[in-house]
Assembly symmetry: C2
Homo-oligomer: 312 residues x 2
Amino acid sequence: MKYIFKIQYKISDYIMEITFLGTSSAVHSYKRSHPSIALKAFGETMLFDCGEGTQRQLIYAKISPMKISKIFITHFHGDHILGIPGLLQSMNFRGRETKLTIYGPKGLDNLQQAIANLGFPNFDFPLEWIEIDSGTIVETEEYVVKAQRVKHNTLTLAYSVEEIKKPRFLREKAIELGVPVGPAFGKLHNGVPVEINGNIIKPEQVLGPPRKGNKLTYSGDTMPCEELIDFARDSTLLIHESTYKDEDKDKAELHSHSTSVDAANIALYSNSKELILTHISTRYKDIKDLLGEAKEVFENTKIAEDLMKVEL
Amino acid sequence: MKYIFKIQYKISDYIMEITFLGTSSAVHSYKRSHPSIALKAFGETMLFDCGEGTQRQLIYAKISPMKISKIFITHFHGDHILGIPGLLQSMNFRGRETKLTIYGPKGLDNLQQAIANLGFPNFDFPLEWIEIDSGTIVETEEYVVKAQRVKHNTLTLAYSVEEIKKPRFLREKAIELGVPVGPAFGKLHNGVPVEINGNIIKPEQVLGPPRKGNKLTYSGDTMPCEELIDFARDSTLLIHESTYKDEDKDKAELHSHSTSVDAANIALYSNSKELILTHISTRYKDIKDLLGEAKEVFENTKIAEDLMKVEL
């Protein structure tokens, strides 16, 4: 895992590039904009939540809004959605033609209607709104996106993105079986049997054992909950809300949020490799304690900053 | 007139303090946020337009959103209004109790409804929405706010704020007439007659000639129009939209906007003292020409920058 705090251009060797566009909780601050996370992966750009000012943060992060293919909304509190109308309007102004899909929990039709009422009944590009619930949301040859209900004071979803990683291709074994170097290698690696001199060579004869790809899990707003432990199981990176310090556990419970220690426990119990805390209450001037108490439970923890970039 | 490009605290000797929170046109940029202007004057803070990200810009400008008493909306295009839902929500989160009044042209009830549909049907502080048209909107002892329809592709209002300046109090003359130094001076200056030894002293006996206060005019989005020339007559400062350069006059006409030369002509014909261009299209990398061609028509012209502060 690699951290880049100053955004810079490079050809990435990594599968997933995650940029924290906004890392505040409901009240933003000088340094923290409202929640949004961008994921560049599998030739796409996806957004998770889209608080007010997200389109401005995209400029600072040098991420083109025109390349966003999917937006996943965790819930309908204003700090997580108020950047959507302006983002859609800007895409339209700039002549977008490619499709955009917006996923969110039950209630998405209300949001769609409210945005229409704000003066944008139609856009010139294909725009699909898909209401979802716990389960598999998107499945391609390269990745799977899943959603899971968590415990907030309104219906809220966590999301995971899992890379589908092909087994290693056993080149020496293929040559041994008489497969000629060339297109047949690709077919076998992609799971297609080939015929060599009248013999059928099956993919499983030349492929290594199954391999686990990267897994990114984002909690949305939630109290610590068991469903999330199962859902985040074996994540390469868990991004978990951490609105409060442990000393404000009572406030966290009152408002259905998590403390940094709660988040660290979820990382520990879900066997995640790394934890990044986000959705930090701007009431705290000094967040060293917040990080410190999480690290006592789960050492491999960091705190998100606006425009911080992480590569998996 | 004094320009401060870096915001700093000081006790102001000026009557009106204007801060440009956002100075872009519909498409914002790295340096220019969506339109909004803050006016601190007469013990109040007022906003003119409130594009997405205005609440963040308020933080950078060190202006408390809690002290905003009035928001004046020129028209309902997204770039001028999408900061309102988040601003209202933040005021609510922070426990606002004082009243806020939002003024705008016909259609304001739709905006109010759309914001309710976004998930904010109620706020815990008094919030009044007032639909207005051309005419006097607010009148106090200290100032008058007026609105005027201008020429855009949707119903749009310009606004002016005029200081009501008391005539000078002729102290020597009052003493000559036997008025004792003390509270009677204040009464007379405020227009109240006083009785001295059985004689009635009238205010006009001890007051100088009428004095003109500062006048600020903000065009909203508009093509050059005669109504605005009359409306902006003798402004101390005219803030006029200047979306395009003169070479793009055809685009300005097509989209019902103004060029910098159009804005300069309005300043000239309205006998305004100073012109500041705002609502600058982000298509221009270099805006020196845009300023230069305006200055050829009206020398006392400047271009707004985000967070630029002007005192009158």
